[in-house]
């Protein structure tokens, strides 16, 4: 099995090497195939070739790792502190027979952070289903309501607890951000949940929810990809998932090879980006990097 790992890594380093080489003579490639150039000129936005190449590398790496994962290749992912605390917190709520409050962020369903929040909700709901711990999921958008109910219903079915699934545990609380925060704050002080889990896109209300939850004495685990709100979650919560750890969380919790594959793929892209950055900096500092950087500028 190890040789597959070595082959795939060498393939991608060759790819990055070609990517860097290609940057050295960008005009060359187009001249060789004039016919294609005419057609593509009219239709294809030549100024976005860099995005096309980067996207192909990106998709290639992510899909290859996903396929490797599907074939059962062992994938090592380091421990993410906040996530063990998640299972522990829900366990504690079960012992105390107090509810778990889960908020999949305050954005519409068409935000990737909300999708990550919904898929983590699916994993948490599976645990609460097993122990019949009450679960409260206030949401702020109707599409998130629909997706949340689907995710929780599936979790209860898979845990064999279809009958104890209550459709109204996922509920649309209010339209506006602060009305949502006011309602959830009231809910926290009245229901006193044992664990508050905030996973998704949050804005100024992050501290409103987390500080009230702290006053209500709940264990709090938060995760958001928005850099502006992470400091407030760090100040008021017990554990905070930062930036892309939110996206890694659903893969990590599910232990599903397909999702773990994507995570490993992202790591390799990160290595490629770091290599490209270091090469760029060396070229820039030695004064002849303009054409290389030109390659990355979004048009």
């Amino acid at each position: 099995m190890p040789h597959i790992k070595r082959i795939s890594q060498s393939v991608f380093f060759v790819l990055t090497f070609a990517f860097i080489l290609f940057s050295a003579c960008p005009t060359g490639a187009q001249e060789e195939t004039p016919a294609v150039a005419e057609v593509s000129q009219k239709l294809f936005r030549a100024d976005r070739t860099n995005v096309l190449i980067f996207s192909l590398i990106f998709a290639g790496v992510i899909l290859t790792y996903t396929k490797l994962a599907k074939k059962g290749k062992p994938l090592f992912i380091r421990k993410i502190a906040g996530l063990d605390a998640l299972e522990e917190a829900v366990g504690r709520a079960t012992e105390m027979g107090k509810p778990v409050l889960f908020i999949p962020g305050l954005q519409e369903l068409d935000e990737m952070e909300t999708i990550a929040g919904i898929s983590i909700l699916g994993r948490v709901a599976k645990i609460t289903a097993q122990y019949d711990t009450p679960l409260m999921v206030p949401v702020r958008y109707p599409l998130v309501l629909a997706a949340g109910q689907e995710a929780v219903e599936q979790a209860y079915i898979q845990a064999g607890k279809r009958d104890s699934y209550n459709k109204d545990c996922v509920r649309y609380v209010a339209g506006e951000q602060m009305a949502f925060a006011a309602s959830v704050n009231g809910l926290m002080m009245r229901e006193r949940p044992a664990a508050n889990i905030f996973m998704g896109a949050f804005f100024a209300e992050s501290l409103l929810l987390a500080e009230t939850g702290n006053a209500a004495g709940s264990i709090q685990i938060a995760g958001t990809a928005r850099p502006e709100q992470i400091p407030f979650f760090i100040a008021a919560c017990d554990y905070t998932l930062m930036g892309e750890e939110l996206y890694a969380a659903s893969a990590y919790l599910s232990h599903e090879p397909l999702l773990l594959g994507g995570l490993k793929g992202q790591d390799l892209i990160k290595v490629i980006i770091i290599v490209a950055l270091v090469v760029g900096m060396v070229l820039i500092l030695t004064g002849n990097g303009t054409r290389y950087v030109e390659l990355f500028i979004p048009k």
């Binding site: 009219k42 239709l43 294809f44 936005r45 976005r48 995005v51 990106f58 998709a59 899909l63 996903t66 519409e108 068409d110 999708i115 990550a116 919904i118 898929s119 699916g122 958008y141 109707p142 599409l143 629909a146 997706a147 689907e150 995710a151 219903e153 599936q154 109204d168 509920r171 649309y172 209010a174 339209g175 506006e176 951000q177 602060m178 009305a179 006011a182 100024a204 209300e205 501290l207 409103l208 987390a210 500080e211 990809a225 850099p227 992470i230 400091p231 407030f232 760090i234 100040a235 008021a236 930062m242 930036g243 892309e244 996206y247 659903s250 994507g262 793929g265 992202q266 892209i269 990160k270």
Partner: protein
């Protein structure tokens, strides 16, 4: 059929948007199709807001009908939804003359009055409460327990000083170019580079999630059955 059709729709609509990204804007065909898809998805989104109203009414009405403790408050929410939504959608023509202004959503309507004089002050006050919470969170959390926590509270205190005139004067007193160092090297250097790191990391995470949705690997949002 139940899962295949939605997955196919997700793939096709996503692919069109990806292709549209690479097509010259003057190219009418794919350009307008992608534009239409965006308008279509906002139309679908528009419908679901009625679902939202139904959910909030049903959940609160259940509390009222079962006379759960505090059902009076839930009745208030149900009434507020209708008092706000119905006049706004009520055609002005059906109102006796002189009362038309109360319908619709423009200035002078019930909708606008309730929004300006109840919802707006309440959301402004919820925001104002953050000033108290930021003080209590800073006091409780900013304790020099570890190197990281110490770095957090030292930088926070220094930037707080830098942001206010009296504080800035104090920093200038310590050394004339300290505010400049904070602005260039902390805000424009360390903070900027970390923001970039998190933006790039999160962008890769979001792009992977988008790819999974397009290829139907990520389906929790529509139930995996």
């Amino acid at each position: 059929m139940r899962t295949l059709l939605p997955l196919a729709i997700a793939f096709i609509s996503g692919l069109i948007m990806v292709i549209a990204f690479f097509i010259n804007p003057e190219q009418k065909t794919v350009g307008t199709i992608s534009q239409d898809l965006l308008i279509w998805s906002s139309i679908i989104g528009g419908f679901t807001f009625l679902l939202g109203a139904i959910s909030i009414t049903r959940v609160n009405w259940k509390q009222v009908s079962m006379r759960k403790p505090g059902w009076g408050y839930n009745l208030l929410t149900v009434l507020a939804v209708f008092v706000m939504a119905v006049p706004a959608l009520w055609p002005a023509a059906w109102l006796p003359s002189g009362w038309e202004r109360l319908a619709g959503r423009n200035a002078g309507s019930i909708y606008d009055w309730l929004f300006l004089y109840t919802a707006t002050p309440m959301s402004q006050t919820m925001f104002a409460i953050l000033a108290f919470y930021i003080a209590s969170a800073a006091y409780r959390a900013f304790r020099a327990r570890s190197t990281e926590a110490t770095l957090l509270l030292l930088t926070a205190s220094m930037v707080m000083l830098w942001r206010v005139p009296m504080g800035e004067a104090f920093l200038l007193f310590i050394s004339p170019d300290l505010p400049g160092v904070i602005n260039t090297y902390i805000m424009g250097g360390i903070s900027l580079s970390v923001q970039r790191g998190i933006i790039i990391g999160a962008a890769l995470g979001a792009a992977t999630m988008s790819l999974r949705i397009l290829l139907g690997i990520e389906r929790t949002y529509m139930g995996r059955s």
